[in-house]
């Protein structure tokens, strides 16, 4: 079974540009999560999808971040326009069921550098 995959693995962009990160969860997993770790800080929750619906987006830092999960399969996280403080590692995770305490399966992350 393939794990959670993320693309790209690294992205270097200039301030003001747009970047789109992609996450492919484990097939059949209804829950998809985005987290990020900025330099020197803890891994922070961004949002949670159940299928195509946003269950909880309380961790999204501001309206420059837009997450979508059309069709309930893969998800994208767009940052537009990117700022220097957006640099960090963005993790995606998925888990199979709703309503139970599930382990979350994490992808390798996308390292974003904003210059």
């Amino acid at each position: 079974e393939a794990g959670v995959t993320q693309f790209p693995s690294h992205s270097v962009i200039e301030k003001g540009q747009t970047v789109t990160l992609r996450c492919d969860p484990i097939s059949g997993h209804d829950n998809l999560y985005w987290y990020r770790r900025v330099m020197g800080k803890e891994i922070k929750f961004l949002l949670h999808f159940v299928k195509e619906s946003k269950q909880d987006e309380s961790g999204m830092p501001n309206n420059r971040f837009l997450a979508e999960r059309t069709g309930g399969t893969y998800s994208t996280l767009k940052v537009q326009p990117a700022e220097l403080e957006d640099s960090g590692v963005y993790f995606c995770a998925s888990s199979p069921r709703q309503g139970t305490y599930n382990e979350q399966f994490f992808g390798p992350g996308t390292r974003l550098t904003v210059l």
Binding site: G3, N31, Y33, E42, F105
Partner: protein, 112 residues
């Protein structure tokens, strides 16, 4: 301090020794999970302990949870060089305990 704060921040031990790290948190939780991250890789789930459980084992791992003290510990017995990694605790909150709050992690170095 942050929810899910690990202690110590770094730990260096010899192969074969035991490694113990602690995690403290502030608010009520549904579950607490421990993850490992090898350098440059994703997080790997190690063990989940529910709020009504006190101790759990998985192979060489032993996790305890004390909800009265809002703390947990992870013990790795008979450590191996391959256990070198960062270890994170994460507390699950919300109705399904799915919203994870991570601590800063403990970097463990196991010297051969």
């Amino acid at each position: 301090s942050q929810q899910g704060e690990e202690d110590p921040q770094a730990l260096s031990i010899q192969e074969g020794e035991n490694a113990t790290m602690n995690c403290s948190y502030k608010t009520s939780i549904n579950n607490l999970q421990w993850y490992r991250q090898n350098s440059g890789r994703g997080l790997v789930h190690l063990i989940l302990i529910r709020s009504n459980e006190r101790e759990k084992h998985s192979g060489r791992l032993r996790v305890t949870l004390d909800t009265s003290k809002k703390s947990s510990s992870l013990l790795i017995t008979a450590s191996r060089a391959a256990d070198t990694a960062s270890y994170f605790c994460a507390t699950g909150r919300g109705a399904a305990g799915n919203k994870l709050t991570f601590g800063g992690g403990t970097r463990v170095l196991v010297k051969p």
